[in-house]
């Protein structure tokens, strides 16, 4: 019985013991190590870091192990841990133009300074199950190392910017961005908070919204201006030093979507930006985020706001999978007090209906 009058404590203990046993699975099979998850389940780790908003691959791998591979549960674990951490400093904005590139493609130009770099991608794999992976490989696969290329790789938006063809970055450089995790979200939210929310937002939700706007539930005809993936240096300025020092490198995926804007009475036609950024490697999320970012900017360009992807309160209010999952699953909690109220109601209404008949 799940709510025995005096059984609650014992039931919970037993449930936890069962959970631990099931997590481990068959003891005859060797236990997964954190290193294995970190090295071989990299994209899952990257997603958990992004939506958990904590750049720590070991902890993300631990969360995935503890959550038995459930990404949303792992994200929740990481968030609950993160919220207790003290803050030592805020980093300077990272400069993605100086990224050490692993992959960089543009769908808007055939060639461009620095060239297209295909990098590690599923894109042109034929999606055929590789049965050789069923067995342990004798030797680890190796890719031929590319010759080091020091050519500058300016961002496509910066190239367009020289011609004035694309809008300038909307935020003034000295504007202090808000912090979604330290201040309550109120509407209308600025673009800084919107981007933070989308970066933490559920990949499936953001993907579906972006898709909806592509299918006509929105007014968005984007070009993938550039997708780049690689490492950037993270810098902070310690108060006692007064100058920036590098504290490490982070791998990021960045996407700029470019959307045409027909112009208005006050502005000439130009291209507009949508921006997406994730920790690690997650092109799908970065692209979807960039499209939704642009959709949410409809108001700035006097575009009619009719669809979910253009509705800030709708998108930001429902994107967080830790919130959504918790609220949805709280329906498992007992509600019998309220249900009793409804029973009393329905019986009374039915009795009245009987007498009328």
């Amino acid at each position: 019985m799940y709510v025995a009058v005096k059984g609650g404590e014992k039931a919970i203990d037993n449930a936890h013991a069962l959970l631990a046993e099931e997590r481990r699975g068959d003891p005859a099979v060797p236990e997964l190590s954190i290193a294995q998850i970190k090295e071989q389940m990299t994209l899952a780790v990257d997603r958990v870091m992004s939506e958990g908003s904590l750049y720590d691959a070991d902890l993300a791998a631990l969360a995935l192990k503890q959550a038995r591979g459930d990404a949303v549960e792992a994200i929740f674990l990481l968030r609950a841990y993160r919220t207790t951490l003290p803050r030592f400093a805020a980093s300077l904005p990272v400069d993605t133009a100086k990224m050490t590139i692993n992959r960089r493609i543009s769908a808007t130009f055939k060639d461009l300074p620095g060239g297209q770099v295909l990098g590690p991608t599923f894109d042109y794999t034929h999606r055929l199950l590789d049965f050789s992976l069923m067995a342990d490989a004798a030797e680890a696969p190796r890719a031929a190392a590319a010759p080091a290329d020091d050519a500058a790789m300016p961002r496509v938006v910066d190239i367009l910017n020289h011609e004035g063809l694309i809008e300038a970055d909307s935020a003034p450089a000295d504007a202090e961005p808000g912090d979604l995790t330290r201040e309550p979200l109120t509407f209308p939210a600025g673009r800084d908070l919107r981007l933070q929310n989308l970066a933490r937002g559920d990949e499936g939700f953001v993907l579906a919204l972006a898709y909806s706007s592509q299918r006509g539930f929105g007014n968005n005809h984007p070009f993938a201006g550039e997708i780049r993936l690689g490492g950037v240096e993270v810098e902070i300025v310690p108060e006692e030093l007064g100058f920036p020092i590098v504290i490490g490198e982070a791998e990021l995926t960045e996407c700029h979507m470019i959307t045409q804007f027909t112009g208005s009475k006050t502005q000439p036609p130009q291209f507009t930006r949508g921006y997406g950024l994730t920790f690690g490697r997650n092109e799908r999320k970065a692209m979807a985020m960039a499209i939704v970012d642009r959709s949410l900017r409809a108001g700035e360009f006097d575009e009619e706001r009719r669809f979910p992807a253009q509705d800030e309160e709708f998108v930001l209010g429902h994107s967080d999978n830790v919130e959504a999952s918790g609220f949805l699953q709280h329906l498992k909690l007992p509600h019998y007090v309220d249900f009793q109220g409804e029973l009393v109601n329905v019986r009374a209404l039915r009795a009245e209906a009987e007498t009328v008949r």
Binding site: Y2, V3, A4, V5, K6, G7, G8, E9, A11, I12, F76, R79, A80, R82, T83, T84, P86, T181, R182, E183, P184, L185, T186, F187, P188, E313, G317, V322, E323, S325, G326, F327, L328, Q329, H330, L333, P334, H335, Y336, V337, D338, Q340, G341, E342, L343, V344, N345, A348, L349, E352
Partner: protein, 294 residues
Amino acid sequence: MSETGYNFAYLDEQTKRMIRRAILKAVAIPGYQVPFAGREMPLPYGWGTGGIQVTAAVIGADDTLKVIDQGADDTTNAVSIRRFFQKTAGVDTTTETAAASLIQTRHRIPEEPLTEAQILVYQVPIPEPLRWMEARESETRKMHALTEYGVMHVRLYEDIAHLGRIVKSYDYPVRVNGRYIMAPSPIPKFDNPKMDHMPALQLFGAGREKRIYAVPPYTSVVSLDFEDHPFEVQTWSDGCALCGATDSYLDEVVIDDKGGRMMVCSDTDYCEKRRAAGHLGPMSAPYAETEAAR
């Protein structure tokens, strides 16, 4: 006995201070929803994260904590939250309403009247009472600010027009201190009158929606109604099957698959106290016998 690695009552002191500031503002403006920077808690959203944060911000080492869900101390979620504070704050806990200095609740107000020495913390899923009629936060905040509440009565009017009565049976909206309309959280409307001029401080925490609100001691809390359709609470034809109480909120327990039901107090502490004092219901063995059988 607090578990190493975390601060007293889990939250860091800076976060507690932020929450206390929100609570102070909430007490100063009864019924007003104060936005606060809710933290991710190690319990899922919707499971009492708001109540837990409020409790964590006001609890002290010498508090005695009682946690109930559906009126009972031993429902799984109540157990889980009580354990959380045993672990992280090492406070004493109790199931006795009168012995608690701090009571966290989901969906009920204890039957035993509370005192000035107590604080009642409610877990709130949807803090916005206007959400039924208006989904947009930007609009509902304006409606509160300008006391534009006509639409609340539209909803009640519709109930009467279509069903002959106001059918809202829980989370029944109230007006606090003659000003703000407030969601009392999904307590049954049976409990609404207890909120009015309650000697205890009532605090409400909505974690997912990141809002805190409050009803200070001895503040008027009026359930919305019409002059010719006054607010009324649930009643039952018989009392509690175990303790015979006729003044408590009853839960229905299904006892067989042939329509057999028994009605028992939802407040387990209240029921037990009455039985210990010798009150008997029609389906109860004398209290001493049940205790002996344990």
